[in-house]
Each structure stands twice: as structure tokens, then as C-alpha cells.
Amino acid sequence: MAYISKRNLRKEKEKQTAADNRRELIAAGFKRRDLLKMGLLTSAGMLIPKKGLSARPLNTRGSFDDDEPNSPFTTPFQELMPRLPVLPQVPLSALNPPPTQQPQRDQGEARSVAHQAFTDFPPQRYYQMSEEAGTAIMHPELPPQTIWGFNGRTPGPLIVEKYGVLGQPGDGSILLRLRNNLPPPLENGGFGFPSVTEHLHNGHTPLESDGFPCFFMERGQFYDHHYPNVYAGVKSTHAAQGGDIREAMHTLWYHDHRIDHTAENTYKGLAGAYILFNEKDTGNENSGFKLPSFGDGQNPLTSFDIYMVFNDKVFDSVTGLLKFDSFNTDGILGDKFLVNGKINPVLHVSPRRYRFRWLNTGPSRFYQFFLLGPNNSTKAYWQISTDGNLLERPVLVNSARVSVAERVDVIVDFTKDAGKTFFVENRLEQVDGRGPTGNVLGAGQGNQILKIIVDGPQVTDNSVDFTKIPAGTYFYGFPDTNEAPRITRTFRFERGNGQWQVNGRLVNRCDEPSRFAIKKNSVEEWIFQNNSGGWQHPIHMHFEEFQTLKINGNAPSGTELITRGRKDVFRLEHNMEARVYFRFRDFVGRLPIHCHNVVHEDHAMMVLGEINEIGDNRTNP
């Protein structure tokens, strides 16, 4: 009996919440009929997330396990999409104590391993950020949110750097000092773990600076990250040229990587963006590949290269505050979609070409981004990269699929669109943490995340028009894959009793030996296997990009260039086997391979390994 009354209370509470929301909306000028037509209200009177893209998994009773149907309503497209502020350099004198090659443990440095490339590539420029709490307005109809961010911001400031010109690789070298000024225990507002480690995803970075999940920086400590910003091969296969420019990476990001606590910390805001230019991808549309200019990154009349950080979140219906489902082990889906920290913002553009850099920081959702135009039209765009690595040439696409941590750079041509409005629309259906259902919804049926209005002034456009480029390679060619692998290793990703396993084994812990050892300056072929028809996993390997040789036994086909493109996240779909090609060059140290559905990652879907001078022969680590 008691249980029945409990159930009723729960239902009543849900109904009450829904009724409150409805009253609010009606008071704000919406009529019930409008909400019904907008798809925000069911005929039973419950407010619902948009049709087809249910944001929170329902339990078998048809309600939600923590009593909360969904986030409170927010009126879409109320605020402008911010452009990420560029992180300013600091003089060396600003760093106290001055950085050294050896870790300065007695000065409060968390690092335990000496910088291995400090003398080869001494830092030329310096940056400093503090990981700390901050306040963010994610939507004007929600209360100010306490977030954790880099310099108190989420997403963190944009780091804009440049490779050294070929032959002078050391010119790109920087040092970033991070400090952990996160709040003490008792002040995390419900979630967030104030012990951190920062990963530059996916720099060719000496591994002591890469953000190994077990290299913790505790409160009050600092950590010097040395980013040489060099091309792979710089100390090995392409030493004479100063690295292999075909290994250039242009769109990266940084985020917390604390073992077991990455999901809550990145969800709370500890993620930011990082760009690398070089003499080809110059950031100036009058030179090199002539891609739309970055300018100062802020001025809408001169900055046409825009980084957009996407994520989805849930807000507490009682307090309006950001909510994290601490007991979820499958994957967390939000029903509010943010771009650069704002829910459903608006971007004004001029009628010309733009470069958009799209990043999905998760925690668990896969997107398929379309550009929805007037009358449910779909606007095609040029995909120029996979995970920040330029393809051989641009590919005209209608959409791009982006699982957690993946990036795509796209060129959108609004030249003939003055006066029109578009939406970045996610049409990939996903109802729980297992991954997308595979169903791609029709135009206008998905989540319209970002509104783009082409009402900016006419401005000169000197960027390349891809309809006019000659056939063949336009960017760098792909690196060749001729060298025979030293070893082929298999990583089989499985689930047993709700526990994640790789090759039938659970994650190893920080204090256990590496499960595999890669020989420095060697080639390895890896096989990723997913024997499940229910789960999908974005598999991420640190430090090196891979090239896909085969998927399910077949060489890449269809949008072949995109499938062959260099990547650092492999979207391992249902019952899939992929063979990928890695070269591990130049640096040594410890590194993980893991699922980048950060909820899976935090529940041990990770293998810890290392690169050393010898390597091992474990084929099933």
C-alpha cells in the first residue's frame, strides 16, 4: 500500500511541475494550443522534449528514475552565440616560480616527470590559466550557474598558436602553466571532483604534458604543460624537414581527464578550445590554403573562422541549476543544447564564406549536424577535416556525424543567402547512452541548436571557392601507410554485467603496470572490435592520429576521403571491426586508450599503456 501512495506522490509531483511550467508559459504569452503545435506539450499536458530526440532515457515505467521529467522550458534563440575569447600570452616573469625542466615538487608542482623535449624545443611563449569556479549565464531564463572553468570560463579561452615554419620546428613551442584553484570539498554544488589533469586532445605532445589520467593536480598545485607544437616525425622520420607537415593538426581542444571523474568535471565546464595555424593554414584568407580569415577571433567584420563548442546538459526543474546524474553508468543525455556556453544561441553572419570548427564535448551524445534552411531545405557545406586534420581536398556534404570529442571543420558558403535564416540542426536520434539508434530524422524534425541569420553587412571575401579548385589534392596529401607494422594488436570492447571490459579484462589502475608498450618510432596496426549490436563507442587514442585501413573487412568507400582522413577518435558502431594504422614517433611516456563517452570512460572503459624504447609483443593487451 505504502508503495502505491509513493508512486502517486511521484506522479502528482511530475504533474505539478508540468502544470507549473505550463502556467508560466501561458503567463508569458504562449497559449496551450501553441505549445501543442510547437511540440512542447503532449495531449496529456506534460511538457516534453522535442519529438524524436527524447533527451533523457525513460525507465520501463515510462518515467524518469530521478523524478525529473526534463529540464525547465527555455525560450530558444534569446542570446547571441559568444565567440571564444583568445587567451593572451604572459611574459616569463609572470610565472612564479619560473618553469624548469625538472618538476618542482617542493614548489607545489604536481608534475612528477621531467620535460623530455625542453632542450630540443625550449618554450618560446608562455600562457597561464587557473582552473577555478566561475559564474555563467547559460540562458537568461535560468539562474546564474556556478561552473568550473579555465580562468573561471566555460568553454575555456581559445588558445591560438602556430607551428614553427618548416625547418624551424622549435618556433611553435609554448608552455602552459595550469593552477588548480578549484573550490575545497563541501563547495562543489553537488558534483565535480577538485583533483584534475588536463589533456590537450590530440597534440603531438611529450606525454608528461599530455594529461595522463593518473597525473593528478590537487588543489593548490600547479602543472607546467610543455606543448612543442611540432609535426610528428620531427625527431625521427622527418627530422631533416623539421617534421612531416602532412601530420599537421589544426583544431584541437583541452579538457580535464581525471581518472573516474572526467565526466562530471568536463560537464561542469573544464573544457576549452585550441587552434594551430601554420604556413599553409594561415588564418588569413589571402595566403596559403586561403581559408576564411581568423582575424582577431572577435570582430564580426574580420573574423570568419569560428570555433563552436557543442554540448548537451540537464537542468534541475526545482532550482534551475545544472544537474549531473551521478549514478548513471550508461551515458548522460541532456535536453538543452549549448554552443559556446549558451543554450540555443543566435549567430549573425555576412553573406560570404565561413569556417566553422565544430566540437562535441559530450558527455555522451552523438550528433549529425545539418544546416536547415528556409522551407525545410538542407544546405550543403564543405567538410575539410576530420578531428582537426585536413583532408586531401574538401568534400561537399549534407551532414557530418560527430560523436563525443570528434571535430569537423566545415566551410559554409552564405554568399547567396543574404536575408535568410538557417539552423544547425541535429537529426540523429538517440534516446539513451548506448549510442544513436541510427535513425536520421527528417528536415526540421531534429533539434535546432544554433540559429544563423545572414543579415550582416557585405564584406570582402578573398577565401577560396572550392567549386573552382582543380581536381586532385588541395590540402596536404595523407601520409603513406606503406611501412609494415611492427605488431598488430586487437582491442575488443565489451560489456559484461554492466561493467566495461577491453579484451575481457577490466581497466588497470594507476599503480598497475602498463597493459601494452609501444616501441618508439614504430608502426602498429590496431584492430578495434565491437561485438555488440546495442552499444557504440567513440574510441580515443592519445598522442597519435590514425588512418583507417579497413572497416568490417572493406577498404573505406562512399565518402571515402572522410573515412580515410586522419583521426584521433574512431566511432566504433554496432558490430564493427576496424583496422587502423598508427605511427608512434618522437616521444615516450604513459598514455591511455579509452572510450570518449566520458561516462563509460569513468567506469573503467580504458586501457593504460606506454611508449618506450623497447616495446612489447602483446597482441591482445
Partner: protein
């Protein structure tokens, strides 16, 4: 709502299949009147820890939040006494975790195993199971009404998203969840992880040790001119 915003919203709706003309007078919703101020700890309690009455292997009636979770470091898992799958290996694992955590268990760290089959697992069955595994004080095996145990299972996320898999109790979720309730630190790891690994994960949310360590590091950094 300003005219500009209203115009953009109208345009939005015109581009959607749910297009409707918006009414005049629509205003931005004021968050100050929409929401209540409730502490995050209290909201966490409301969301996850209904104060249901459970029974332990000694026949004691205990309230889920007030008696078992509040102000404690807790370790959760699911089991049932007749389970022939992963229950026994996980229980054996947790016996070693209990040893590793030493005399803290029962003082400020508590271990709770919730039965998935409350109809079978009465007090006697729980007592027998605990005895068989030689568990020490501070670790409770808990049963209750079918509905209450199901509520707890769902609240704590021991649910497979595939309903067919979820129905099969012999293939239940073997994750160990742990947390520090007053500090609001929560985490989870595979129950079949090494006992050292589980104990390490629990120690990361440990209190008050963690607080002391934190203070120590802060003081040191401050003395060295650290900070922002």
C-alpha cells in the same frame, strides 16, 4: 521579449514543422520567480535517497537516508543470496576491500549490499550469506519490500537500458558505487576490479583525510607564493 527577439522567434517557428504565429505579449521568463533555492546536497537527497525503511541481516529496521547514507562514506552494490553469477566474486572482492579499509569500516565508511530478490532474501538468508562470506561489522545486507528495493535499484542506476537485459537478474549490473555524502563526491567502478583498485577509488573521496590533505597542499602552495 524585445521586438527583435520576437521576430527571430517567429522566424524560427516559421522554419519548423510546428510553425505557429506567436502571440503578442510573450515575455522572457524570470528565473527569480521560477525556481527555488535548495542546497545541492538536499536536492541530491531528494533525487536519489528516498527515506525508505530497509531491514539488515540482523533484522534491524533502518531508514535509507537518515540511518544509512547521511554524513557517511558509503559503498553500494547489488546482489542476491542464491546468485550463481558475479555476486559471489564481487562479494569476495568486497571482503578484501573491507580489510583494506580497515577499522574505518563501520566508523565513517559503510558498505551496503542491496538484494535484487527481496522475496527470497529474508533476514535469515541475508544473515547466512554474510556469515558465509565472513563479512565484518560495518557492512550491511539489506532487504525490503519488492517495490522499495526496485525503487532503490533504479535510483542508484543499477538498470540496463535494454529492458530485456534488465529483466534477467542473473545478468545484473556488477558496478560498485561509492560516495562521500556530506562532501558530495560520487563515483563508480566495476565490482570485479581488483580490491586494491576499489579501495583506491574509495580513498579518493575519503573524508576527513582528504580535507586534511587538501588543507596541507593549499598551505604549502600559499607559503610558496602560489595561488592565482
Amino acid at each position: 521579449m524585445t521586438d527583435l527577439k520576437r521576430r527571430s522567434l517567429v522566424a524560427t517557428l516559421a522554419a519548423t514543422p510546428f510553425a505557429v504565429p506567436l502571440l503578442t505579449g510573450a515575455q522572457s521568463l524570470d528565473w527569480r520567480s521560477r525556481f527555488k533555492q535548495v542546497s545541492s546536497r538536499e536536492r541530491f537527497r531528494q533525487r536519489y535517497f528516498p527515506n525508505l525503511i530497509l531491514t539488515d541481516q540482523n533484522g534491524r529496521k533502518l531508514k535509507f537516508y537518515d540511518d544509512l547514507v547521511k554524513d557517511k562514506i558509503v559503498i553500494f552494490n547489488m546482489f542476491y543470496a542464491q546468485c550463481e553469477g558475479i555476486c559471489s566474486p564481487i562479494t569476495r572482492n568486497l571482503v578484501r576491500v573491507q580489510k583494506l579499509l580497515g577499522n574505518r569500516v563501520g566508523k565513517d565508511i559503510f558498505m551496503y549490499s542491496f538484494t535484487l530478490k527481496p522475496k527470497e532474501d529474508n533476514v535469515a538468508a541475508l544473515k547466512h550469506y554474510a556469515h558465509m562470506h565472513k563479512v565484518k561489522p560495518g557492512w550491511l545486507f539489506l532487504t525490503g519490500s519488492v517495490e522499495d528495493m526496485e525503487t532503490i535499484r533504479r535510483k542508484l542506476g543499477y538498470v540496463d537500458p535494454d529492458p530485456e537485459v534488465d529483466k534477467d537478474k542473473s545478468n545484473h549490473i556488477g558496478v560498485v558505487k561509492y560516495g562521500n555524502e556530506p562532501l558530495e563526491f560520487w563515483g563508480g567502478c566495476p565490482g570485479m576490479l581488483s580490491p586494491e583498485g576499489i579501495a583506491e577509488a574509495v580513498r579518493w573521496v575519503d573524508w576527513p583525510k582528504n580535507l586534511e590533505k587538501t588543507k596541507e597542499i593549499s598551505a604549502k602552495a600559499k607559503a610558496n607564493g602560489g595561488g592565482k
